[in-house]
Amino acid sequence: MEKRHRILLIIALVLLPVLAYFHLTIGQIQLSSADFYNAVFNYSDSETAQLLVREFRLPRLIMAIVAGSSLAIAGMLMQTLFNNPLAGPYVLGINSGASLAVALGTLSGISMFSSNIGLIGLALIGALVFGFIVLGFSLFVRNSLSLLLVGIMIGSFTSAITSLLQTISSADSLKVFTIWGMGSLQQVELSQIGIITVFFILGIFFSFFLIKPLNALVLGENASLLLGVPVKNLRIIIIVITALLAGLVTAFCGPIAFVGLAIPNLCKMLFKTQQHLVLLLGNILLGALFLISCDILVQGLEPFILVPINVITSIVGAPFVIFIILKRLA
């Protein structure tokens, strides 16, 4: 790893606790250091301040880190697999699959499916089912570009069915679905953080095993095959990890736009490398930093207007993606 890369990673690593501190303390209710200490080590649920730390601020911060990192890694994997900087974690139809499942559930009018747990379950099922459908295609479709198109077509197909369901649903169901689509880091509970962290760590852990084959894949599929990389198996593993990470985020936070698309590109621009060890570490850190920053903005705006996280990530992310396209054209 080059010295420049190490310095950038250390800066990002130092920034993480700084932003995390801001994220924890910026809310509208002023909390002291003692409140944070007591909430962790000496918890009493009769104390409002401790309750806010434990039930709201900590889970929200952890989710921002997990979601930001997961989407950035998933995006990086997809961009390398398809050798396309405009690929993202959702091109495989994972997001559309989760949306379809949530739409089917919530718009059916069954109240259980409109609940927090119901939405998580539906999104996870939808993401995994469509992840496996694309995985099935990947066994037969040799070319990555064709697979990308299959993913996009599946996305269009599921979006059409989702739109159809929306037109025939009740106003209340439509509201639940629309709000889910805006994304949120606040729905997750402290008790769910354990299982979320386990899947997150598993996703990252297996990603590290892919570093060498990913470095080879940058040279193209044929070159990778000549270098002895089992491209077909690699493709399957990448899809499984992406479905796991993106599905996890979509299940607990709803679809969060642009993080998976913008951050891997930002990483490449900053680090100016194709070394996936650097890119992987960079995406983990930058993804977390980006989503924490967006959520700080959400919290900072709260006294004036309550903005969904997706609005902020889109406002920041969309111009950046346009910038990437223009830069490539230039």
């Binding site: 809310g27 509208q28 209710i29 409002t48 309750l51 806010l52 039930e55 709201f56 109240s111 259980m112 409109s114 609940s115 927090n116 747990i117 119901g118 037109t167 106003a171 509201k175 709000i179 889910w180 805006m182 949120s184 606040q186 729905q187 509970e189 709260e302 309550l306 969904p308």
Partner: protein, 368 residues
């Protein structure tokens, strides 16, 4: 002595008729105004007809003008739509419209509703089942041909700012489209007074005035009693939608009901008539000692926690002081607007059970 009975009977009949007429006349001001509390519509008695003005929800300018009469007046005022009364075939798209027609025993004039699933009125459910009234679906997507098929003389819809679909074409075809903004009324009696509009539309003017006067009397009596209470328990209303808690503003209809029932609404000092938005953090920190939580929109505590587990942190939830009208949701939405005194009775029973004369709920129940 036999001759005395018919005389007594006719005397009574005349007395009742005169009484009813005098109440009717008393209700009409010197300027011909028939409305006392409502701020978003006007009924003005003119010579041989009644002028109806529906006022804009935001700036109270006149949005819709109509003349209500049995025959077209010899001089129809300029820019006024003529509505021939009594209206015999009406599309009523909101629950509150149906509640008011039901109170006037005028359900037989309804030939179209939005969705049968939102109905409580048995007569109207039967009418939709038998095909006498048709389901038109969501207001924003009503197919024009369904309206034509209904042969309605009048379409009453809740005007939230968007025009009624196909309004221009329907007007050309002879349909009259009447916007209703009763939802915008801040005073419970103001909303209830819209019953007069339906009374004038279906030819039951006197009945509607009589019913409204009775409601007004009961409501004001209860309100007066609650003015004297020394202790006002704190109350929060609303629920989370996504990450945002929507609670009625301090000048809203619901805030007024809480205040009239002797409650201290937590956000009473907020300005405006719509909703305020609060994060869950704010709700928890601002409501640690709030005694009652009303209108969460669910039937049980289990449903509430399944919807969002964090709601169990609301202290009123932990103290079993959550109340809602959810046991009979459709019934509430149909009748609560036209019978605010019954809502007030319920809220008094929740906030001041020791002072409540009636010990059973009309709409509400405790959420267990």
């Amino acid at each position: 002595m036999k001759w005395k009975s018919p005389i007594l009977f006719f005397s009574l009949l005349i007395a009742v008729a005169c009484g009813s007429n005098s109440t009717y006349k008393k209700t009409i001001s010197k300027e011909g105004k028939i409305i006392e509390f409502a701020e978003h519509f006007e009924l003005i008695q003119d010579s041989g007809f009644v002028r109806l003005h529906i006022l804009d929800a935001e700036n109270k300018s006149i949005k819709f003008k109509a003349v209500l009469a049995k025959k077209v007046p010899s001089s129809l005022p300029k820019d006024y739509v003529f509505i021939q009364t009594p209206v015999k075939r009406m599309i009523a798209l909101s629950s509150t419209h149906i509640g008011m027609l039901s109170k006037l025993e005028g359900i037989n004039s309804v030939v179209g509703v939005s969705n049968q699933n939102y109905l409580d009125n048995k007569e109207l459910i039967d009418r939709t089942k038998s095909g006498k009234a048709i389901e038109l679906g969501d207001e924003g997507m009503i197919p024009m041909e369904s309206i034509v098929r209904s042969q309605a003389e009048l379409i009453v819809f809740s005007d939230f700012g968007n025009p009624f679909p196909h309004a221009a074409q329907l007007t050309k075809l002879g349909f009259t489209i009447l916007p209703n903004v009763d939802w915008r009324e801040e005073q419970p009696l103001g909303k209830a007074e819209w019953i007069k509009l339906y009374g004038y539309l279906i030819g039951k003017e006197k009945e509607s005035i009589k019913i409204f006067n009775s409601i007004k009397e009961k409501y004001l009596e209860l309100k007066q009693e609650m003015k004297l209470v020394s202790k006002r328990p704190s109350v929060i209303s609303g629920n989370l939608i996504g990450d945002i808690w929507y609670a009625p503003n301090g000048k809203s209809y619901n805030a007024q009901l809480i205040s009239d029932a002797g409650g201290e609404y937590v956000y009473a000092k907020t300005e405006g008539t719509g909703s305020i938005m609060r994060s869950m953090e704010q709700i928890l920190s601002e409501n640690r000692s709030t005694k009652f939580w009303i209108n969460p929109g669910f039937k049980s505590k289990q449903e509430i926690t399944v919807y969002n587990p964090k709601l169990k942190l609301v202290p009123a939830f932990q103290n079993n002081q959550v109340y809602c009208y959810s046991a009979r949701m459709n019934y509430f939405w149909e009748m609560s607007a036209v019978e605010p005194h019954l809502v007030l009775e319920d809220l008094i029973l929740i906030f001041h059970p020791e002072l409540a004369k009636k010990k059973t709920f009309n709409f509400y129940s405790r959420i267990n």
